[in-house]
Subunit: 320 residues, 2 copies
């Protein structure tokens, strides 16, 4: 079994060695670019970790790990177009650098690349791998659709929000775990438990993201603290506050403020008055507990689960 | 064996019966919309025809036929965004009706739907089916990229143009034939010959398209005759003329004209002076002959090939 740092290195090395055709250069350069921007490689590492619970040959899971990372980056390229985002990990987004049309098409071919990686898995697991991957990919698209629709809706409920982040963020973590389990040789029950672990962890992860956006340490957060508040983003915190506040306080959430800083300060104070951070943390812990409960139920030696426990703790206790 | 009309009905019925989730409605409605706009369903019919050369159970090939038709429609949705096209088959394009972001995302999920169809083929042919499909899909993306790049390039050679239409149009016809052959149970040699048949037919098909755009019967063509000339599109005819004309005639091809009608008339006269139509037809016949030669070599009873011969003749002798 490899430790998380070793697994991350396996992924980085494999990404570095990926070969794309030279031509048309403008189709493949954006893929190399986005894939090299880094990030924590959480999803492919999860694939390998899940596989290593059931096999000593981590290489068996590498193609699926690359498929998941390529798919994830494909969604970033297309999401950045839809969100009109200029920057990704501090660098120009693909559509900023190559234009929207090129970004659409490079994204499309990344989807094909994901499928090429997938098709290399052993024939004995090919069908369940495809089924799991396709279901995951479809869920992620549905989540992005809901996220876009929520921007213009004023009646989003907290249940709808949780369902949106489950689809947009969590099913991919669940899918990564399950795919790793399948190629590692897990039975259906253990694969399903790993899916639950990943999906619940994913919801907790996104709730933590919402909390950090308001309460993160500005020194460590890496993004502007309060960015969601400034953008009127319908996060868990926003929706929870909106459900609890008095009519006369809605002006604080939705009205005009003297400046962005004033708005962040006023809304944060409102959140504090209603213990919104605490409520969000309770919600997060609910999903974190469900993740750990699923992990406990997996029928393998408990010491093998240490990597996943550590990963989950890091994700949930991060400050950026 | 079914005749072409019966095969087309099998496809139409299957498309009508396709079920998509109800929610999010804006993600799945565009898929139903574009899939119902019709068209000749040439590609899925080709899949079924190829399969029927080797099996009596045409149903074996239906999933692959749906995958190919869904993929083709996905490329139409994304290409129409890139081309900024308002209409498709006389109706609003998806991005006109639902917006660009929605069209990107519905296209993405159509790619997933294609892969879901593919994953249903018998496990014994799943791997070659995936490999053939992924190679085809990648080629189509490369062709679209080249097509976009040619718009702003002034030094496109005829060889480059043929390579672009091979990728953008022809590999999908080749892939459709080969996929049908594989699921029908053909050996590698026959599958490869059917690929050659489809690909060469595809190049001939696109050259015929270029010719019809200028020399089509306005009553039957269904589009504005001379549209490519008005748009300065680098078709085979344009590139061939540009390679042959005298320096002082370049003004006719590239200069300003009194009106669109004048331009069409002047450029067509120029084409006539250099027998461009004839040269294009010779080029087309070269590919058509290569297609028929590949068909002849396929090792099955010659009467079974009748459907494909008829389809090819219809495609090459069409007037719209």
């Amino acid at each position: 079994m490899h430790n998380p740092t070793e697994l991350q290195k396996i992924i980085e090395d494999a990404i570095t060695q990926l070969a794309y055709p030279n031509k048309p250069a403008n189709l493949y350069e954006p893929i190399k670019y986005i894939m090299s921007l880094g990030g924590k490689r959480i999803r492919p590492v999860m694939v390998l970790m899940a596989a290593e619970l059931f096999t000593e040959e981590v290489s068996k899971a590498l193609d699926v790990a690359l498929a998941i990372e390529t798919f994830h980056n494909f969604t970033l390229v297309h999401d950045d177009i839809m969100d009109n985002a200029p920057l990704r990990r501090g660098k120009q987004t693909v559509h900023e650098k190559w234009g929207v049309n090129n970004a659409i098409l490079s994204g499309d071919v990344m989807m094909v690349e994901s499928n090429k990686h997938l098709s290399k898995v052993h024939i004995s697991v090919l069908k369940p791998v495809l089924d799991t991957f396709n279901q995951t990919a479809q869920g992620v698209c549905e989540g992005q659709q809901l996220d876009m629709e929520f921007e213009t809706r004023s009646d989003v409920s907290i249940d709808e929000y949780i369902e949106m982040i489950r689809l947009k963020t969590a099913v991919l973590l669940g899918g990564a775990m399950k795919l790793g389990a399948i190629v590692g040789g897990a039975d259906e029950k253990n694969s399903a438990l790993l899916y639950q672990f990943g999906e619940n962890l994913g919801v907790a992860f996104q709730l933590q993201d919402d909390i950090l956006d308001v309460y993160g340490d500005p020194e460590k957060f890496g993004k502007q603290v309060g960015g969601d508040i400034i953008a009127n983003k319908k996060t868990f915190l926003h929706l929870k506050a909106n459900a609890l506040i008095k009519a006369e306080e809605t002006e604080i959430l939705f009205g005009n403020h003297q400046s962005a800083e004033h708005k962040v300060a006023a809304v944060t104070e409102l959140y504090d008055n209603y213990s919104i951070r605490n409520l969000a943390e309770l919600e997060m812990e609910k999903y974190a507990s469900a993740a750990f409960a699923a992990l406990e139920k997996i029928n393998i030696a408990t010491e093998k689960k240490e990597n996943l426990r550590t990963l989950a703790s890091q994700i949930l206790n991060r400050n950026s």
